[in-house]
Amino acid sequence: MGKLRLFSLVVILLIISVLVIYVFSLYYGLDRYSGVVHDKILLYRRTRLLTALFVGLILGFSGSYLQSCLRNPLVDPYILGISGGALFTIYTYYLVVRTANMIVCALLASIGGLVALAITVFIAESIGGSDTAYVLAGIGVSSLFSGLSITVYYVIISLKPSASYVHTLLIGSFANSLPSRIPLVIASTVALSIAYILYSKPLNAVVIGDTYARQLGYNPRLIRRILIVLSGIASSIVVMVAGIIGFIGLVSPHIARLILKTSDNRLVVPVAGLTGSLLLLVTDNFSRIVLSEFIGEIPVGALASSFGAPFFIILLIRRFRGRI
C-alpha cells in the first residue's frame, strides 16, 4: 500500500510540475507582444512545449521498456544506436528526395532506427550478450551512424545551405518544432501507453527470467519483441521531430526507480515518462529563457548529454565496482 501511495504522490507532483512549467513558459513575457505577433509566438511556444512534453514521455517510456526487455540497466535509445540509425536514414532520404514527406520520413526513420538496433543486438549477443557487450556494441553502431550522418549532412549543406531542419537534428533541439509533427509524437505516446497497460505487469516476470515468464503463461519473446519494436519506432520518430537527444531515456527510469524504491514496471514506467517530460521542459526552458539572454540558445540535446553522460558514468561505476 505504501508504494502505491508514494507512486500516486509522485505522479501528482510530476504532473503539477509539468503543468506549471508549461503554463509559465507559454505566457512568460508574452504581454510585451500583441496582435498577430502575440498569436504567432503563442503558437510557436505551444508547439515547442508540447513537442518537448511528448518527446520526454516517449523517451522515458522507451528507456524503461528497453532496459527491462534487455534486462540491462545501462541502455537507452541513444546508447543502443537507434537514434543514430534513424538520423542517418532521415538525412539520406532528405539528400535523395529533398522534400520531406512526413509519413515517409517517419517510416524510414523507424526502419533506420530498428536496423541499427538489430545490428547492435546482433553484435552484442555474438560477444556474450552481457550488459557491457550491449553498451560497447551500441557505441560502435552509434558512432558508425553518427559518422555517416555527419557526412551526409555536409553533402546536404553544400547543396542547400539553408536546410535548417537538417541542421537541428544533429544535436537535438525543440527550436524548430512544427505543429504538423505533434500528431506523430502523440500517436507514439498513445501506442507506448497502450503497451504499458497490456504489458507492464508481465514485463516484471520477463525481467526475472524467460523460463519463469513462460511458466506463468506469458510469451516472453513476443512481449519483448513488441516492446522493443515499439520503443524503437517511437524513439526514431523522436529523432525526426526533435533530433538526437541522448541519455534522457537512460536517466528517467533510474530516477523513477530511485524515487519509488522499486523496479516494478507498473509504477516505474509512468514516472519515468513524466520525469523525461519534466527534464526536457526544464532544460529547454532554461536554454530558451535563461541562456538565450547571455549566449544564445544551446540545443537541448547538448544540455541533456552534459548532465546525462555523467549520470551514465556514475551508473557504470556503481554497476561494476567490485565485480571485475
Partner: protein, 257 residues
C-alpha cells in the same frame, strides 16, 4: 486421473533429436505423495521437471489432474502447477522479495495491480519459510541460500495443486535443508510435490517415493525402502554403496576409494 500426475512414455530431445535427454519415462504419483528424483549429473532430472511444467516440449503423454499438458494452454497450467528452478537476478532492475513472490500470483490474480489478498498470501508464504524479514530487501542483495528460499516461496505463493522443485536444497546449509524438507512434507498434504536433488540423504528423508534416473531412463521408482538398495543405486550412480539403517530409514553411504 484427477489429483495425480501421470507420465506415459515421455521422451524429450534436444537439438532436433540429436540428444535424447529423457528416454521414455513412465511414472505416476498421487496426492499426498512426494516424489524425489535423484540421479547423476545429466541424467535428465531437470529436463523431466521442465517437460511436466510445459517449459519444454516432449513426446508421450503427461497428465496433471486430468489435464493433458501438451494440449493445455500455459496460463491454465500455471494455475495448477508451479515450477521452481533457478532464476538469475539482474541487479539494478531487481524487485524486492515481496514483489518477486507477488509475480508468481499473476496467473491467479486477474487485475492490473496486486490485491490485498495477493499480498496477504505472499506474506504468509514468506512467514512459513521464515523469511518475512527479507520482504522488502532487493533480490540482488540476498545470499544464495536466501534466494533459494525465495524461489520456493514463489512456487508456493499461488497455491498450486502440483509443485515442482528443482534442487530445492541447493546452496543450503544443513539446518536450512531440514527446514525445507519439513516444509515440503507439510505442503504435500495439499499439493503433489516433485523435487530433484543431488543429496540422497535429503531425498530419503523428504520423499515418500523415489525415482532413480540415469541417462534419461528410470532405473527404479517406488517407496523409499524399496528403492534405496545397493544394486539399484550402483546401477544409477556407477559407484558402490553401503546401506545403514537409522530409525528404520535406509541411508545409502557411497564407498570412497
Amino acid at each position: 486421473m484427477t489429483d495425480q500426475i501421470v507420465l506415459r512414455n515421455v521422451v524429450v530431445t534436444y537439438r532436433k533429436g540429436l540428444i535424447v535427454a529423457v528416454k521414455g519415462v513412465s511414472l505416476s504419483i498421487g496426492k499426498g505423495d512426494v516424489l524425489g528424483i535423484i540421479g547423476p549429473n545429466g541424467a535428465g532430472k531437470t529436463t523431466l521437471l521442465k517437460a511436466i511444467a510445459k517449459i519444454i516440449g516432449y513426446r508421450g503423454t503427461i497428465y496433471i489432474d486430468g489435464y493433458e499438458v501438451s494440449s493445455t494452454p500455459h496460463h491454465v497450467i500455471a494455475r495448477i502447477l508451479a515450477y521452481a528452478g533457478d532464476i538469475d537476478v539482474p541487479d539494478m532492475l531487481s524487485l524486492t522479495v515481496l514483489e518477486t513472490v507477488l509475480t508468481s500470483r499473476y496467473p491467479v490474480s486477474k487485475g492490473f495491480l496486486d490485491t490485498k489478498e495477493d499480498k496477504a498470501k505472499a506474506m504468509e508464504v514468506l512467514r512459513t519459510l521464515g523469511i518475512e524479514d527479507l520482504a522488502h530487501r532487493r533480490l540482488d542483495e540476498l545470499s544464495s541460500g536466501e534466494l533459494r528460499k525465495v524461489i520456493i516461496a514463489m512456487a508456493l505463493a499461488r497455491e498450486p495443486r502440483a509443485i515442482l522443485l528443482d534442487e530445492p536444497d541447493a546452496h543450503l546449509d544443513m539446518g536450512s535443508k531440514i527446514v525445507i524438507s519439513r516444509l515440503i512434507r507439510r505442503i504435500s498434504r495439499r499439493s503433489i510435490v516433485i523435487f530433484t536433488t543431488h543429496d540422497i540423504f535429503f531425498a530419503v528423508n523428504t520423499a515418500s517415493k523415489i525415482a532413480l534416473l540415469r541417462n534419461g531412463s528410470v532405473i527404479g521408482v517406488g517407496r523409499v525402502e524399496d528403492i534405496v538398495k545397493k544394486d539399484l543405486l550402483t546401477r544409477t550412480y556407477g559407484v558402490d554403496f553401503n546401506i545403514v539403517y537409522v530409525d528404520g530409514k535406509p541411508l545409502p553411504i557411497p564407498v570412497y576409494g
